[in-house]
Every structure is written in C-alpha cells, then in structure tokens.
C-alpha cells in the first residue's frame, strides 16, 4: 500500500511539513509568551520575538511548588488508571457488539448510541454520583463520572472490529474450541491494537484535560485538584473579575488581582501540556499495525 513514487513522497512530505508548522507556531507563541516579561507582554502584546525575557512566570509556579506538583501527580494517577479501565471496558463491550449475529446487537448499539444524544443534565448526574454513590471529595469523584466509558469510543471500536477482523476468524477459532475469553485475548486484542491505542489516547487526553469533575466533585478536599483544575480556577476567577469589575467593591478586586496574569496562565498551560509532548512520541510505535493479519489467517 505504501507508494514509493518519489514525487508523491516529496509532495506529501511538503504538505505535512506545512501542517506541522501551523501546529508548532502557536505552541511556540505560547512558550514565548510564558517567558516574556510580564509588563512587556501587557504593553506590547504577544510576539514571537519578545523585547525582554523573564522567567517570572515559572518562578511563580515553582513558588507555589508543592501544590503544582501534587496536582501533577494527581493528573497522572487519574489519567493512567482511568485510561486503563476505559480501554479495558470499551474493548470488552465492543467485541461482542462487533459480532454480526449477536442476538440483540442493534438494540444494544442503540442503547449505547442513545446516551450520546440524551443526557439528564448536570444536576441529576451530580445527584447520582455525589448523593447516592458518595464520590464527592474522593479520588473516585475525578475518576468515575462521565469519563470512565465513552459511548463514542465503544462505537468506534465496534466499527473497527467488525470491519478489520473477519467473521471467519471467530468462527475458525470457535471450531477450534477456543473459549470466548481466549478468542478475545489472543485474537481480538492483538488485532485491535491500532484502534485500542487510539482510543486509549483519546481517553487519556480526556482525563488529562478534564477539569469539570474536579469542579463539581472536589469541594473541600482541594489536595485532589488536578493541574487543569488549578488552571481553570485561575481563568474563571479572571473572567469573573472582568465581568464584574465595575460592580464589585474594590476590596474584592484587590483580592482578585492576586490572580496570576496571562503570562503565568500561559506558563501553566505549557507545564500542563509538557508531559504529553514527551510521552506522545513514545506511543507512536503502537499506532502502526499490531500484527499482520495474514499471519493469523494463514
């Protein structure tokens, strides 16, 4: 399938390089803004070539030290555990759905799909998790609500399984007398690796970027805050101030003016993204095909 035509290779590489530039430049701007001197940033605006550099924003982050690092730890913990459970549960759920003669297949697919369109809203969901299941102010508050399983992921994996893994394979395996779990483990998982890694990436990013669970389910126990919660709190405080500046009594604005400025937000955004930038390329090798289909078939 790989086309070795030289002109074609050059052309697609050029196109993709342009894409890379379009992606990288804004990142560069983000990084530059985070190391631009605060006053220069406000007075002169954002630029790729700041007049004056300053590491003030990062010093600020380091000063609040423990908090940031704890939030980091929390984010990593939640992301790793959540992603593993997510991928596991999704794969287990999607594989039967991909079998074309599973009784009730359409109904169950609809059952999954329906949740993508309709939801009861935040309050009922909050009542469910907080009041009945008691996840509030615990790690489970970050882990369980909404993110543990995504209907979208189930449907995507199902689609992949049903097209990329031939039916005959299952039948062959069954005639061999392989148990369903064994088929799942030794055929479906290896063959589904590309999509599972992809879904894992999405799920991981969803956990990494999530701040809503922290907002609603972590109230008193702010030690559980993730890095996104810290960032989001700063941003929402700033917006509140911008919207209410003229209404608020001045002492309130005094308290709010301690909220870090744009440069620090940029720095925190960068710090929040950094680990992913490092980990991401390491994941790349899994995107390519797991094992050759032919091998199994033969």
């Amino acid at each position: 399938m790989v086309n070795r035509n030289k002109g074609y290779q050059i052309a697609i590489n050029i196109v993709m390089m342009i894409v890379v530039c379009m992606v990288v430049l804004p990142f560069l701007l983000l990084i530059m803004s985070s190391i631009t001197d605060e006053n220069v940033l406000l007075a002169k605006g954002y630029t790729f070539f700041p007049e004056k550099f300053s590491l003030g924003a990062y010093e600020y982050i380091l000063k609040s030290g423990e908090k940031i690092f704890r939030a980091y730890g929390m984010t990593i913990l939640i992301t790793v555990i959540g992603t593993l459970i997510n991928v596991g549960m999704s794969a287990l759920f999607s594989y039967p759905l991909a079998l074309k003669n599973l009784p009730g297949r359409r109904v169950i697919t609809f059952f999954v799909f329906f949740t993508m369109l309709f939801n009861g809203g935040l309050v009922p969901s909050y009542i469910m998790w907080s009041t009945y299941l008691g996840v509030k102010d615990t790690v489970f508050g970050l882990l369980l609500p909404n993110l543990l399983l995504s209907s979208m992921n189930i449907l995507l994996i199902r689609t992949y399984f049903s097209t990329s893994i031939p039916d005959t394979l299952y039948e062959a395996a069954q005639i061999d007398g392989a148990g369903q779990l064994r088929i799942f483990r030794s055929i479906v998982l290896p063959l589904g690796k590309p999509i599972l890694v992809t879904i894992g990436t999405f799920s991981g990013l969803a956990y990494w970027n999530d701040w809503t669970n922290g907002l609603y389910y972590i109230n008193k126990n702010t030690e559980l805050y993730t890095i996104q919660n810290l960032l989001n709190k700063m941003v929402s405080d700033l917006q509140f101030l911008a919207q209410n500046a003229t209404n608020l009594s001045s002492s309130a604005t005094a308290e709010l003016s301690k909220v870090p400025s744009t440069g620090v937000q940029m720095a925190i955004a960068f710090v929040a993204i950094l680990p992913i930038i490092i980990v991401f390329p390491l994941l790349q090798k899994y995107y390519s095909k797991g094992i050759a289909l032919g091998a199994v078939k033969g």
């Binding site: 220069v40 406000l42 007075a43 008691g134 702010t222 101030l241 911008a242 608020l248």
Partner: protein, 521 residues
C-alpha cells in the same frame, strides 16, 4: 415489524433500568455505612419537610454542625484558623463549624449544584442577582419565619429596615453583609503623569472634565492608552432596579420605571465615550481584554480607569498598580451628583439559609452570632492573633502582619465586605483608625432611592429576561467602550432589540409591583 422492534428496544431499556434501579437502591443502603457521621436522606429527590418543627434546644445537647459556604482564595494556615473558629463557636454557641471555600469564578456553578442536590449546607452567600432564581426554585428559606425570633441581635444592630431589606414580595432571602454600601464612582489616575501635566485633580467633577486631561496626557505619552474597562464610564445616575431593564431615573427619585438605554443621559455617555475612542484615548481592545486595569497600569500601558471608590481605596490601589495613584470622585455628565443608595447596592451581598439546612433555627442563631461577634469576624478575615496578625503599637483597632511575615505567609482572607459584619472587627494597617465611622458616614450621606427595599419578583418574565440578558451583552460593552462605528445606530438597534425581546413587559411588571409596594409603605 417496525413497531415490534421499537417495542423490543423499549422493553430492553425498561428491564435494564429496573435492574439498575435495584442496584442503585442497594448502593443507597450500603452507602451510609461508609460515611457514618454526616449522611442523611436530604436529597432533592426525597427531601422531607423538616423545617416546620424546630427541635427544642436543650442545655447539653450535641453541638450542631454549621456548614457554611464562603468565597475566597485558599489561605496559608487555613486549617488552624478554621479549627480556632470551630473552637470559638463550640464554646460560645455550642455549634461546630464546617466551611466550604469556593472560588470567585466557580462559586455560582458549585453552589447551584450543592443547592440542587441537597448537599449538606446551612448558610450560603447570596449575590443580589442570584436571589430571584434561588427563591423561585425553592432553594433558600424565607428568613421572615426566623429572624424575628432568633435574630433579634441583628435587628437591633442593623435596624429592621436594613436587616430585612433583602426581600422579594415579603420573602426575606438574606441579611445584607454589613459593609460600605455607597460606592461612588471616580477616576483613578497615575499620579506622576498628573503631576507632569499639572492638572489640579480637585477641579475634576464630571467625566467631561477628563477630555482635557486625556488630551494633555496623551500628548505627553502617546504610546499609552488613556482609559480602559469593559464599561469605560461607570458613574451611576439611576437606580438600576437590579438588572437595568427598566430603571428609576434621577438617582431613583423618579418613581416612573423607564428604559435607561433610551434616555438622553445614556446617549450622552455613549457619545462622550465614542469621542474618546475616536480620539484614541480608549484602549482599542477594551471590550475584549481580560486583563485587569491595575495590571495594565502596572505594565505602563494605561493611564487611568474608573472604579467605585470608597474610604481607604487608594491604599489598596497603589499596591495593585505598583505606582502612586490619585483619585477624583466624578458625578454625572452635567457635573451634578447626588449620593444615593439603592436596594441592590445594600443587598449586593447577603447571607441566607439553604433549604436543605437540617436545623434552620440553629442556622439563624448562628447568623445572629456571626453578625455580632467581633472575634468570629476577625478570625475569619485576618486569622489568629499573634500568628497571622499583630496589633499595631499604640492603636486599639489597627493590625498588621507579624514581624517577618507578609503576603502569602499568613492567613489573610481580607474579604471583610463579604463577612457578615466587618465593622465590628479590626482594621488593617494603612487604613484610617476611624474607617468604620467613615463607612457609616459614607452610608449615611446618601439619599435613599424611592424604591429602596423594593425587589421585584421576576418569575413571570423569566423567558423575557433570558432574551434581554443576551441583547444586553451584545450591545452594552461595545457601546460603552465606544467601539461601535455609529453610536446613534447602535443605540437604536439596541433598543429595538430590547423591545423585541420583551422589555416593555418587564417595565410594566416592575411598575405595577413598584406601585403596589409604594402604596403599602
């Protein structure tokens, strides 16, 4: 065929949901075991009306736990301070204390969730614009049932007028925090530039007087923006009747509800702003920037901004701006001004009791205590004496950081305006010793709006208000920063859209309720 399929789908869903409701029910019964102390069935789903029969207070009963939502940033030494508050309350009123600290940006969302789900909560802060929604959805308690029996000290201290002024149709939703209520707008300018161009600040009376100042300052510092803010001119000359949709003109002395945005006063203000914008005085991005004015001044790109000013204001602002500032009170565009007070300025911030509070009488007794205990207010605001603050030598009321501590090292919530009663507490160093007297004077100097104490019941126009709010955000910032190309056209569009969204209905409603209210006074 199709029907049967649908039937099948529905039946499967039903069976599944039945199955899980059983599961959930199981979960429900086992949950309390894990959290023994503070579980209840106080959920929105099955809230039982506990309020009617308050339990009688015995002498050596279990202390009641007050859960109180407060707004602010996390502080150093916080746990210890709150433990001290807890100990104080246990000793003085036999209650324990469980604060829930919410941040400015998120409190609204988080409180809404807690109120809706029936989380444990007794006392909560209520900003004036939330009251109506809380009342309409039954999330808070009418204090009229409690304040006269259990809040006597509040009534005595604040006076019944003020204490019960946070009321809609007789439903008292909260007690106002005791603070300076009369905030008058003024201009805050960089002192070095004012000195440089030689302006006598005392001659500035009206926003119009600023044009000349800006002209000189801009000439001296062409790289600087003269003024910024999402509303450039902030002087208020009307009683906004809470939401600006139908106001009382003439500082609330005229009892006819009118549309402010159609008035000559509004047009004059917009014209002046536009004049400044066209002359290059207003920051181009004023309508969209999220940077605070103080930060912009600090960065050297802004000369001045308008703000509500009160005694002691400059001390704070000098720190925020990193340079010395000067202020001048400004009146309306004609140079006139009348100190005035309206319901929303007094009731900007109130304390109320949540519907799910397990013992509303206790909650009221707690408020009664909090409004009258200097120790409680001091602890909440400034922390523990000796650790977070020390008295300033030679003064009874002034306090300051202890030796070797500063911002960020000690508990310093410094949100006196939010706590029930800062005006019986200590005063931070740098302010005048008679700050509280100045505040009282400040409040007394104002003329009350004719509609003072009136809050309209908006429940029947909720639909119109959503559309109106949307129209207001569309036009207000762009008109009031001068960024619109044509002021007359923009104001006309603004008003057309307001009326299309049902402004007249809101105005009529307000007028009707106001007349009834005035007649009853």
């Amino acid at each position: 065929m199709k029907k049967s399929k649908l039937l099948k789908i529905v039946s499967v869903l039903l069976v599944l949901s039945l199955f899980v409701s059983v599961l959930a029910a199981c979960g429900d019964t086992t949950a309390p075991a894990s959290t023994p102390a503070n579980d209840t069935s106080s959920t929105a789903a099955d809230s039982t009306p506990v309020e009617s029969e308050p339990t009688d207070t015995g002498t050596d009963e279990e202390p009641y736990k007050i859960t109180m939502a407060i707004i602010g940033n996390e502080q150093p030494n916080q746990d210890k301070v709150w433990q001290a508050v807890n100990d104080l309350m246990l000793e003085e009123i036999n209650m324990t204390f469980e604060p829930i600290l919410l941040s400015f940006g998120d409190y609204q969302e988080q409180l809404r969730m807690m109120l809706s789900a029936g989380d444990e909560l007794d006392v909560l802060p209520i900003f004036y614009d939330q009251a109506s929604s809380y009342i309409n959805s039954g999330q808070i308690v009418d204090l009229a049932d409690y304040i006269y029996d259990y809040g006597q000290d509040i009534l005595n201290y604040m006076g019944e007028d003020i204490a019960t002024s946070g009321a809609v149709n007789g439903f008292i939703y909260g007690i106002p925090a005791n603070k300076e209520s009369n905030t008058r707008s003024g201009i805050v300018m960089r002192k070095d530039i004012i000195d440089e161009i030689g302006v006598d600040v005392s001659t500035l009376k009206s926003p119009r007087d600023l044009t000349a100042v800006f002209e000189q300052a801009k000439a001296a510092h062409p790289e600087m923006d003269m003024i910024s803010g999402s509303r450039v001119i902030t002087t208020e000359i009307v009683d906004p009747l809470f939401d600006w949709f139908g106001v009382l003109m003439d500082y609330g002395q005229d009892t006819t509800v009118t549309n402010y945005f159609e008035s000559k006063e509004y047009k004059d203000r917009a014209d002046l702003t536009k004049e400044w914008y066209d002359a290059g005085y207003v920051k181009l991005d004023a309508a969209t920037t999220t940077e605070t004015n103080a930060n912009l001044v600090k960065a050297g790109s802004l000369f001045s901004y308008m703000a509500p000013i009160k005694p002691g204001y400059l001390i704070q602002e000098n720190i925020n701006c990193g340079t010395e500032m000067v202020t001048a009170y400004l009146g309306d565009l004609d140079g006139g001004y009348q100190e005035s007070l309206w319901t929303s300025s007094v009731n900007f911030f109130d304390w109320g009791i949540a519907q799910q509070s397990k013992d509303k009488v206790k909650a009221m007794e707690f408020l009664n205590y909090a409004y009258n205990s200097p120790e409680w207010n001091n602890l909440m605001n400034f922390g523990i004496e000796g650790e977070d603050y020390v008295p300033v030598e030679g003064s009874d009321v002034l306090i300051d950081y202890p030796e070797g501590k500063g911002i960020g090292d000690a508990y310093h919530m410094n949100m006196g305006w939010m706590y029930p009663n800062q005006m019986i507490g200590k005063i931070w160093n740098g302010n005048p010793e008679d700050l509280w007297d100045q505040y009282t004077e400040f409040n007394k100097g104002a003329v009350l709006s004719k509609a003072f104490g009136f809050i309209y019941d908006s429940s029947s126009v909720a639909t119109e208000l959503t559309a109106l709010n949307s129209v207001r955000t569309e036009f207000m910032a762009s008109i009031e920063t001068g960024s619109v190309p044509d002021v007359d056209q923009a104001i006309k569009d603004f008003n057309d859209k307001l009326y299309a969204a049902g402004l007249q209905k809101v105005i009529d409603l307000k007028q009707e309720q106001l007349d009834a209210w005035l007649a009853a006074q």
